[in-house]
Protein backbone atom coordinates (compact mmCIF):
# COMPACT_ATOMS: atom_id res chain seq x y z
CA UNK A 1 0.00 0.00 0.00
CA UNK A 2 2.85 2.35 0.89
CA UNK A 3 4.36 1.63 -2.52
CA UNK A 4 1.15 2.54 -4.31
CA UNK A 5 0.82 5.73 -2.32
CA UNK A 6 4.38 6.80 -3.16
CA UNK A 7 3.88 6.12 -6.86
CA UNK A 8 0.50 7.83 -6.84
CA UNK A 9 1.97 10.99 -5.33
CA UNK A 10 4.76 10.93 -7.91
CA UNK A 11 2.24 10.53 -10.74
CA UNK A 12 0.09 13.41 -9.49
CA UNK A 13 3.08 15.74 -9.15
CA UNK A 14 4.32 14.72 -12.59
CA UNK A 15 0.87 15.27 -14.12
CA UNK A 16 0.72 18.77 -12.63
CA UNK A 17 4.23 19.44 -13.93
CA UNK A 18 3.08 18.41 -17.40
CA UNK A 19 0.06 20.71 -17.06
CA UNK A 20 2.43 23.55 -16.18
CA UNK A 21 4.59 22.94 -19.29
CA UNK A 22 1.37 22.64 -21.32
CA UNK A 23 0.43 26.13 -20.09
CA UNK A 24 3.59 27.96 -21.07
CA UNK A 25 4.03 25.95 -24.24
CA UNK A 26 0.61 27.00 -25.50
CA UNK A 27 0.37 30.65 -24.39
CA UNK A 28 1.59 31.50 -27.86
CA UNK A 29 -1.39 29.88 -29.55
CA UNK A 30 -3.85 32.48 -28.36
CA UNK A 31 -1.61 35.44 -27.73
CA UNK A 32 1.38 35.44 -30.11
CA UNK A 33 -0.31 37.49 -32.83
CA UNK A 34 -1.89 39.93 -30.34
CA UNK A 35 1.54 40.52 -28.81
CA UNK A 36 3.21 40.87 -32.20
CA UNK A 37 0.72 43.47 -33.49
CA UNK A 38 0.61 45.39 -30.22
CA UNK A 39 -3.08 44.69 -29.62
CA UNK A 40 -2.12 43.71 -26.09
CA UNK A 41 1.06 44.45 -24.17
CA UNK A 42 3.01 41.23 -23.53
CA UNK A 43 2.39 41.02 -19.77
CA UNK A 44 -1.28 41.93 -20.13
CA UNK A 45 -1.69 39.29 -22.84
CA UNK A 46 -0.31 36.45 -20.72
CA UNK A 47 -2.36 37.58 -17.72
CA UNK A 48 -5.60 37.59 -19.76
CA UNK A 49 -4.70 34.21 -21.23
CA UNK A 50 -3.84 32.72 -17.82
CA UNK A 51 -7.09 33.91 -16.23
CA UNK A 52 -9.16 32.58 -19.15
CA UNK A 53 -7.32 29.25 -19.00
CA UNK A 54 -8.16 28.86 -15.30
CA UNK A 55 -11.77 29.92 -15.94
CA UNK A 56 -11.94 27.42 -18.80
CA UNK A 57 -10.62 24.66 -16.55
CA UNK A 58 -13.49 25.25 -14.13
CA UNK A 59 -16.16 25.68 -16.78
CA UNK A 60 -16.00 22.37 -18.50
CA UNK A 61 -17.56 19.46 -16.69
CA UNK A 62 -17.13 17.00 -19.53
CA UNK A 63 -14.00 15.23 -18.36
CA UNK A 64 -12.44 12.75 -20.74
CA UNK A 65 -13.33 9.33 -19.35
CA UNK A 66 -10.25 7.82 -20.91
CA UNK A 67 -6.71 9.09 -20.62
CA UNK A 68 -6.21 9.47 -24.31
CA UNK A 69 -9.56 8.99 -25.99
CA UNK A 70 -9.21 5.23 -26.48
CA UNK A 71 -5.77 5.41 -28.10
CA UNK A 72 -4.17 3.57 -25.20
CA UNK A 73 -6.00 0.72 -23.50
CA UNK A 74 -6.72 2.16 -20.06
CA UNK A 75 -7.28 -1.33 -18.64
CA UNK A 76 -3.70 -2.41 -19.37
CA UNK A 77 -1.86 0.76 -18.43
CA UNK A 78 -0.43 1.02 -14.90
CA UNK A 79 0.52 3.97 -12.71
CA UNK A 80 4.19 3.43 -13.53
CA UNK A 81 3.47 3.63 -17.25
CA UNK A 82 1.43 6.82 -16.80
CA UNK A 83 4.38 8.30 -14.93
CA UNK A 84 6.80 7.26 -17.68
CA UNK A 85 4.52 8.67 -20.38
CA UNK A 86 4.23 11.99 -18.55
CA UNK A 87 8.02 12.20 -18.22
CA UNK A 88 8.34 11.71 -21.99
CA UNK A 89 5.78 14.44 -22.65
CA UNK A 90 7.34 16.92 -20.22
CA UNK A 91 10.89 16.48 -21.54
CA UNK A 92 9.77 16.84 -25.15
CA UNK A 93 7.75 19.97 -24.29
CA UNK A 94 10.79 21.50 -22.58
CA UNK A 95 13.14 20.64 -25.42
CA UNK A 96 10.88 22.16 -28.09
CA UNK A 97 10.37 25.22 -25.87
CA UNK A 98 14.15 25.66 -25.64
CA UNK A 99 14.30 25.65 -29.43
CA UNK A 100 11.28 27.98 -29.66
CA UNK A 101 9.27 25.41 -31.59
CA UNK A 102 5.49 25.41 -31.21
CA UNK A 103 4.91 21.66 -31.08
CA UNK A 104 1.69 20.08 -29.87
CA UNK A 105 1.43 19.37 -26.13
CA UNK A 106 -1.41 16.94 -26.83
CA UNK A 107 0.76 14.95 -29.24
CA UNK A 108 3.57 14.92 -26.67
CA UNK A 109 1.21 13.53 -24.01
CA UNK A 110 -0.32 10.93 -26.30
CA UNK A 111 3.09 9.99 -27.73
CA UNK A 112 4.56 9.58 -24.26
CA UNK A 113 1.67 7.39 -23.17
CA UNK A 114 1.81 5.29 -26.36
CA UNK A 115 5.54 4.69 -25.90
CA UNK A 116 5.14 3.84 -22.22
CA UNK A 117 2.18 1.50 -22.84
CA UNK A 118 3.87 -0.20 -25.80
CA UNK A 119 7.05 -0.95 -23.84
CA UNK A 120 5.25 -1.72 -20.59
CA UNK A 121 2.25 -3.74 -21.75
CA UNK A 122 3.00 -4.72 -25.35
CA UNK A 123 1.53 -3.75 -28.71
CA UNK A 124 -2.02 -4.72 -27.81
CA UNK A 125 -2.15 -1.80 -25.36
CA UNK A 126 -2.13 0.64 -28.30
CA UNK A 127 -4.92 1.05 -30.87
CA UNK A 128 -3.09 2.19 -33.99
CA UNK A 129 -6.26 2.64 -36.03
CA UNK A 130 -7.39 5.19 -33.44
CA UNK A 131 -3.98 6.86 -33.69
CA UNK A 132 -4.45 7.24 -37.45
CA UNK A 133 -8.02 8.46 -37.28
CA UNK A 134 -7.80 10.70 -34.20
CA UNK A 135 -4.27 12.01 -34.50
CA UNK A 136 -2.62 11.62 -37.89
CA UNK A 137 -5.44 12.67 -40.21
CA UNK A 138 -6.58 15.69 -38.15
CA UNK A 139 -2.93 16.71 -37.75
CA UNK A 140 -2.67 17.18 -41.51
CA UNK A 141 -6.18 18.48 -42.14
CA UNK A 142 -6.61 21.00 -39.30
CA UNK A 143 -3.75 23.38 -40.09
CA UNK A 144 -4.73 23.32 -43.78
CA UNK A 145 -8.34 24.21 -43.02
CA UNK A 146 -7.33 26.91 -40.51
CA UNK A 147 -4.76 28.28 -42.97
CA UNK A 148 -7.24 28.44 -45.83
CA UNK A 149 -9.84 30.16 -43.62
CA UNK A 150 -7.29 32.72 -42.39
CA UNK A 151 -6.01 33.31 -45.95
CA UNK A 152 -9.48 34.05 -47.32
CA UNK A 153 -10.41 36.18 -44.29
CA UNK A 154 -7.20 38.20 -44.55
CA UNK A 155 -7.60 38.77 -48.27
CA UNK A 156 -11.21 39.93 -47.88
CA UNK A 157 -10.38 42.12 -44.88
CA UNK A 158 -7.71 43.94 -46.88
CA UNK A 159 -9.88 44.25 -49.97
CA UNK A 160 -12.94 45.52 -48.12
CA UNK A 161 -11.20 47.88 -45.72
CA UNK A 162 -9.34 49.46 -48.69
CA UNK A 163 -8.24 52.65 -46.98
CA UNK A 164 -5.15 54.71 -47.33
CA UNK A 165 -4.91 55.68 -43.67
CA UNK A 166 -3.98 52.26 -42.38
CA UNK A 167 -3.43 53.62 -38.87
CA UNK A 168 -7.13 53.90 -38.07
CA UNK A 169 -7.95 50.56 -39.71
CA UNK A 170 -5.23 48.97 -37.58
CA UNK A 171 -6.74 50.38 -34.41
CA UNK A 172 -10.11 48.84 -35.23
CA UNK A 173 -8.67 45.41 -35.88
CA UNK A 174 -6.52 45.48 -32.74
CA UNK A 175 -9.73 45.82 -30.80
CA UNK A 176 -11.23 42.80 -32.57
CA UNK A 177 -8.07 40.79 -31.92
CA UNK A 178 -8.58 41.03 -28.17
CA UNK A 179 -11.96 39.33 -28.50
CA UNK A 180 -10.85 36.57 -30.85
CA UNK A 181 -7.66 35.83 -28.86
CA UNK A 182 -9.67 35.58 -25.64
CA UNK A 183 -11.98 33.00 -27.19
CA UNK A 184 -8.98 30.88 -28.19
CA UNK A 185 -7.61 31.08 -24.61
CA UNK A 186 -10.90 30.04 -23.09
CA UNK A 187 -11.33 27.13 -25.50
CA UNK A 188 -7.77 26.08 -24.69
CA UNK A 189 -8.50 26.04 -20.96
CA UNK A 190 -11.57 23.86 -21.39
CA UNK A 191 -9.60 21.37 -23.49
CA UNK A 192 -6.07 21.12 -22.17
CA UNK A 193 -6.62 21.40 -18.41
CA UNK A 194 -9.12 18.55 -18.83
CA UNK A 195 -6.42 16.20 -20.05
CA UNK A 196 -4.41 16.53 -16.85
CA UNK A 197 -7.53 16.22 -14.72
CA UNK A 198 -8.36 13.05 -16.60
CA UNK A 199 -4.88 11.60 -16.03
CA UNK A 200 -4.94 12.37 -12.29
CA UNK A 201 -8.49 11.10 -11.85
CA UNK A 202 -7.71 7.82 -13.63
CA UNK A 203 -4.57 7.42 -11.54
CA UNK A 204 -6.65 7.83 -8.39
CA UNK A 205 -9.17 5.31 -9.70
CA UNK A 206 -6.54 2.74 -10.63
CA UNK A 207 -4.91 3.13 -7.20
CA UNK A 208 -8.27 2.47 -5.56
CA UNK A 209 -8.52 5.94 -4.01
CA UNK A 210 -11.68 6.73 -5.99
CA UNK A 211 -14.52 4.46 -7.13
CA UNK A 212 -14.60 3.54 -10.83
CA UNK A 213 -16.30 6.11 -13.03
CA UNK A 214 -15.75 9.02 -10.63
CA UNK A 215 -15.38 12.57 -11.85
CA UNK A 216 -12.40 14.65 -10.74
CA UNK A 217 -12.49 15.76 -7.08
CA UNK A 218 -12.51 19.52 -6.49
CA UNK A 219 -8.85 19.61 -5.45
CA UNK A 220 -7.89 18.00 -8.77
CA UNK A 221 -9.84 20.62 -10.75
CA UNK A 222 -8.29 23.35 -8.61
CA UNK A 223 -4.67 22.21 -8.83
CA UNK A 224 -4.87 21.36 -12.54
CA UNK A 225 -6.48 24.72 -13.33
CA UNK A 226 -3.86 26.59 -11.32
CA UNK A 227 -0.96 24.61 -12.81
CA UNK A 228 -1.95 25.41 -16.39
CA UNK A 229 -2.80 29.01 -15.44
CA UNK A 230 0.57 29.57 -13.77
CA UNK A 231 2.38 28.07 -16.75
CA UNK A 232 0.40 30.30 -19.10
CA UNK A 233 1.16 33.39 -17.03
CA UNK A 234 4.91 32.72 -17.04
CA UNK A 235 4.55 32.79 -20.80
CA UNK A 236 6.48 30.64 -23.25
CA UNK A 237 8.18 33.74 -24.67
CA UNK A 238 10.48 31.70 -26.90
CA UNK A 239 7.49 30.14 -28.66
CA UNK A 240 5.54 33.41 -28.69
CA UNK A 241 8.44 34.97 -30.60
CA UNK A 242 8.50 32.20 -33.21
CA UNK A 243 4.75 32.28 -33.81
CA UNK A 244 4.30 36.05 -33.61
CA UNK A 245 7.46 37.23 -35.40
CA UNK A 246 9.23 34.26 -36.92
CA UNK A 247 6.68 32.91 -39.40
CA UNK A 248 5.64 36.16 -41.02
CA UNK A 249 5.28 39.86 -40.21
CA UNK A 250 1.79 40.02 -38.75
CA UNK A 251 -0.33 43.17 -38.97
CA UNK A 252 -3.52 43.57 -37.00
CA UNK A 253 -6.03 42.66 -39.77
CA UNK A 254 -4.01 39.46 -40.27
CA UNK A 255 -3.87 38.81 -36.53
CA UNK A 256 -7.62 39.23 -36.33
CA UNK A 257 -8.19 36.89 -39.28
CA UNK A 258 -5.78 34.28 -37.87
CA UNK A 259 -7.29 34.28 -34.39
CA UNK A 260 -10.84 34.17 -35.74
CA UNK A 261 -9.89 31.20 -37.94
CA UNK A 262 -8.26 29.41 -34.99
CA UNK A 263 -11.26 29.99 -32.73
CA UNK A 264 -13.77 28.73 -35.31
CA UNK A 265 -11.75 25.66 -36.28
CA UNK A 266 -11.21 24.69 -32.63
CA UNK A 267 -14.87 25.24 -31.72
CA UNK A 268 -16.27 23.55 -34.82
CA UNK A 269 -14.11 20.47 -34.49
CA UNK A 270 -14.65 20.16 -30.74
CA UNK A 271 -18.38 20.38 -31.39
CA UNK A 272 -18.16 17.57 -33.92
CA UNK A 273 -15.92 15.41 -31.76
CA UNK A 274 -12.46 15.90 -33.29
CA UNK A 275 -9.60 16.26 -30.86
CA UNK A 276 -7.32 18.80 -32.46
CA UNK A 277 -3.97 20.23 -31.56
CA UNK A 278 -4.54 23.91 -30.76
CA UNK A 279 -0.91 24.55 -31.63
CA UNK A 280 -1.17 23.20 -35.15
CA UNK A 281 -4.44 25.02 -35.82
CA UNK A 282 -2.98 28.35 -34.69
CA UNK A 283 0.25 27.89 -36.65
CA UNK A 284 -1.76 27.06 -39.79
CA UNK A 285 -3.87 30.19 -39.29
CA UNK A 286 -0.81 32.41 -38.98
CA UNK A 287 0.76 31.01 -42.16
CA UNK A 288 -2.57 31.48 -43.97
CA UNK A 289 -2.80 35.07 -42.76
CA UNK A 290 0.75 35.63 -43.97
CA UNK A 291 -0.14 34.33 -47.43
CA UNK A 292 -3.30 36.46 -47.51
CA UNK A 293 -1.64 39.86 -47.40
CA UNK A 294 0.01 41.00 -50.59
CA UNK A 295 3.78 41.37 -50.36
CA UNK A 296 3.84 39.69 -46.97
CA UNK A 297 6.45 36.96 -46.77
CA UNK A 298 6.09 33.64 -45.09
CA UNK A 299 9.48 32.44 -43.87
CA UNK A 300 9.24 28.88 -45.05
CA UNK A 301 12.46 27.83 -43.33
CA UNK A 302 10.84 28.55 -39.96
CA UNK A 303 7.61 26.90 -41.08
CA UNK A 304 9.62 23.88 -42.22
CA UNK A 305 11.39 23.52 -38.89
CA UNK A 306 8.01 23.68 -37.21
CA UNK A 307 6.55 21.03 -39.51
CA UNK A 308 9.45 18.71 -38.69
CA UNK A 309 8.79 19.27 -34.99
CA UNK A 310 5.15 18.33 -35.53
CA UNK A 311 6.07 15.13 -37.33
CA UNK A 312 8.54 13.93 -34.73
CA UNK A 313 6.71 15.09 -31.57
CA UNK A 314 4.64 11.95 -31.16
CA UNK A 315 7.42 9.42 -31.86
CA UNK A 316 10.03 11.42 -29.91
CA UNK A 317 7.88 11.73 -26.79
CA UNK A 318 7.04 8.05 -27.34
CA UNK A 319 10.73 7.10 -27.34
CA UNK A 320 11.42 8.95 -24.08
CA UNK A 321 8.22 7.57 -22.55
CA UNK A 322 9.11 4.04 -23.68
CA UNK A 323 12.63 4.23 -22.26
CA UNK A 324 11.32 5.59 -18.96
CA UNK A 325 8.64 2.88 -18.95
CA UNK A 326 11.23 0.11 -19.32
CA UNK A 327 13.14 1.42 -16.28
CA UNK A 328 10.00 1.90 -14.17
CA UNK A 329 8.38 -1.43 -15.03
CA UNK A 330 11.56 -3.46 -14.43
CA UNK A 331 13.11 -1.31 -11.71
CA UNK A 332 10.16 -0.89 -9.37
CA UNK A 333 10.43 1.91 -6.82
CA UNK A 334 14.16 2.32 -7.38
CA UNK A 335 13.53 2.61 -11.12
CA UNK A 336 10.82 5.21 -10.55
CA UNK A 337 13.12 7.27 -8.37
CA UNK A 338 15.91 6.94 -10.94
CA UNK A 339 13.61 8.15 -13.76
CA UNK A 340 12.40 11.04 -11.59
CA UNK A 341 15.96 12.10 -10.76
CA UNK A 342 17.08 11.90 -14.41
CA UNK A 343 13.97 13.83 -15.52
CA UNK A 344 14.53 16.63 -13.00
CA UNK A 345 18.19 16.82 -14.00
CA UNK A 346 17.33 16.99 -17.70
CA UNK A 347 14.67 19.66 -17.08
CA UNK A 348 17.14 21.73 -15.05
CA UNK A 349 19.76 21.43 -17.79
CA UNK A 350 17.26 22.62 -20.42
CA UNK A 351 16.31 25.55 -18.19
CA UNK A 352 19.97 26.50 -17.69
CA UNK A 353 20.58 26.32 -21.44
CA UNK A 354 17.62 28.65 -22.00
CA UNK A 355 19.24 31.25 -19.68
CA UNK A 356 22.11 31.65 -22.15
CA UNK A 357 19.78 33.50 -24.51
CA UNK A 358 16.64 34.30 -22.56
CA UNK A 359 13.49 35.50 -24.27
CA UNK A 360 11.28 37.58 -21.99
CA UNK A 361 8.27 39.88 -22.08
CA UNK A 362 10.68 42.76 -22.68
CA UNK A 363 12.53 41.41 -25.72
CA UNK A 364 9.96 39.04 -27.25
CA UNK A 365 9.27 41.31 -30.24
CA UNK A 366 12.88 42.38 -30.75
CA UNK A 367 13.99 39.54 -33.00
CA UNK A 368 12.59 36.82 -35.19
CA UNK A 369 14.72 33.92 -34.11
CA UNK A 370 15.20 31.99 -30.93
CA UNK A 371 18.81 30.98 -30.42
CA UNK A 372 20.18 28.52 -27.92
CA UNK A 373 23.86 29.32 -28.16
CA UNK A 374 24.28 33.03 -28.91
CA UNK A 375 27.37 34.43 -30.57
CA UNK A 376 29.62 36.32 -28.15
CA UNK A 377 29.03 39.59 -30.04
CA UNK A 378 25.36 40.46 -29.56
CA UNK A 379 25.80 43.82 -31.30
CA UNK A 380 25.85 42.09 -34.69
CA UNK A 381 22.35 40.71 -34.06
Amino acid sequence: MAHITFLLVVVIITALAFDFTNGFHDTANAMATSIATGALRPRVAVLVSAVLNVVGAFLSTAVAKTISGGIVNDGLITLGMIFAGLVGAILWNLLTWLLGLPSSSSHALIGGLIGAAWVGAGLRAVDFYEVLEKIIIPAFAAPLVAGLAALLATRLAYRLSGRADEESVTRGFRFGQIGSASLVSLAHGTNDAQKTMGVITLSLISAGALPTGSGPPTWVVLTAGLAIGLGTYLGGWRIIRTLGRGLTDIRSPQGFAAETASATVILTSAHLGFALSTTQVCSGSIIGAGLGRRRAQVRWSTAGRMAVAWLITLPAAGLIGGAASAVVVHGGTAGTVAVAVVAVAAASLIYLLSRRSPVTADNVNDARNVTVNPQPAPASN
Binding site: L59, T61, L148, A149, F256, G273
Partner: protein, 77 residues
Protein backbone atom coordinates in the same frame (compact mmCIF):
# COMPACT_ATOMS: atom_id res chain seq x y z
CA UNK B 1 -14.02 5.93 -43.23
CA UNK B 2 -16.70 7.51 -45.46
CA UNK B 3 -18.47 9.03 -42.47
CA UNK B 4 -15.21 10.28 -41.14
CA UNK B 5 -14.36 12.18 -44.31
CA UNK B 6 -17.75 13.85 -44.46
CA UNK B 7 -17.36 15.02 -40.85
CA UNK B 8 -13.95 16.40 -41.77
CA UNK B 9 -15.50 18.16 -44.77
CA UNK B 10 -18.18 19.59 -42.53
CA UNK B 11 -15.58 20.99 -40.12
CA UNK B 12 -13.73 22.52 -43.07
CA UNK B 13 -16.81 24.10 -44.65
CA UNK B 14 -18.28 25.45 -41.40
CA UNK B 15 -14.92 26.78 -40.19
CA UNK B 16 -14.05 28.55 -43.41
CA UNK B 17 -17.58 29.93 -43.81
CA UNK B 18 -17.79 31.22 -40.24
CA UNK B 19 -14.29 32.75 -40.29
CA UNK B 20 -14.88 34.57 -43.58
CA UNK B 21 -18.31 35.78 -42.44
CA UNK B 22 -17.02 37.20 -39.15
CA UNK B 23 -14.00 38.80 -40.83
CA UNK B 24 -16.12 40.41 -43.57
CA UNK B 25 -18.72 41.75 -41.14
CA UNK B 26 -16.06 43.09 -38.77
CA UNK B 27 -14.20 44.76 -41.65
CA UNK B 28 -17.40 46.40 -42.86
CA UNK B 29 -17.98 47.59 -39.29
CA UNK B 30 -14.50 49.14 -39.11
CA UNK B 31 -15.08 50.78 -42.48
CA UNK B 32 -18.47 52.17 -41.50
CA UNK B 33 -17.03 53.49 -38.24
CA UNK B 34 -14.27 55.31 -40.15
CA UNK B 35 -16.82 56.77 -42.58
CA UNK B 36 -18.79 57.99 -39.61
CA UNK B 37 -15.73 59.65 -38.09
CA UNK B 38 -14.77 61.28 -41.40
CA UNK B 39 -18.27 62.62 -41.87
CA UNK B 40 -18.38 64.03 -38.38
CA UNK B 41 -15.05 65.76 -38.82
CA UNK B 42 -16.35 67.47 -41.95
CA UNK B 43 -19.50 68.48 -40.10
CA UNK B 44 -22.00 66.27 -41.90
CA UNK B 45 -24.50 64.02 -40.23
CA UNK B 46 -23.71 60.32 -40.55
CA UNK B 47 -26.33 58.43 -38.62
CA UNK B 48 -26.50 55.77 -41.34
CA UNK B 49 -22.77 55.00 -41.08
CA UNK B 50 -22.92 54.84 -37.32
CA UNK B 51 -25.94 52.54 -37.43
CA UNK B 52 -24.19 50.35 -39.99
CA UNK B 53 -21.11 50.06 -37.76
CA UNK B 54 -23.28 49.24 -34.77
CA UNK B 55 -25.10 46.47 -36.66
CA UNK B 56 -21.79 44.97 -37.81
CA UNK B 57 -20.19 45.01 -34.36
CA UNK B 58 -23.35 43.64 -32.75
CA UNK B 59 -23.31 40.77 -35.24
CA UNK B 60 -19.67 40.03 -34.31
CA UNK B 61 -20.61 40.23 -30.64
CA UNK B 62 -23.35 37.68 -31.30
CA UNK B 63 -20.79 35.38 -32.95
CA UNK B 64 -18.59 35.66 -29.83
CA UNK B 65 -21.57 34.85 -27.62
CA UNK B 66 -22.34 31.81 -29.76
CA UNK B 67 -18.70 30.78 -29.36
CA UNK B 68 -19.06 31.09 -25.57
CA UNK B 69 -22.22 29.02 -25.78
CA UNK B 70 -20.29 26.27 -27.56
CA UNK B 71 -17.35 26.44 -25.13
CA UNK B 72 -19.39 26.34 -21.91
CA UNK B 73 -21.11 22.96 -21.56
CA UNK B 74 -23.51 24.18 -18.86
CA UNK B 75 -25.36 26.09 -21.59
CA UNK B 76 -26.20 23.13 -23.79
CA UNK B 77 -26.19 20.03 -21.62
Amino acid sequence: MALHWSALGEVAAVSIGATVAVAVVFTLGVRAMLNHQDARESGRGSAAALAGAAVCFLACGAAVLYGLYLIIPQFHD
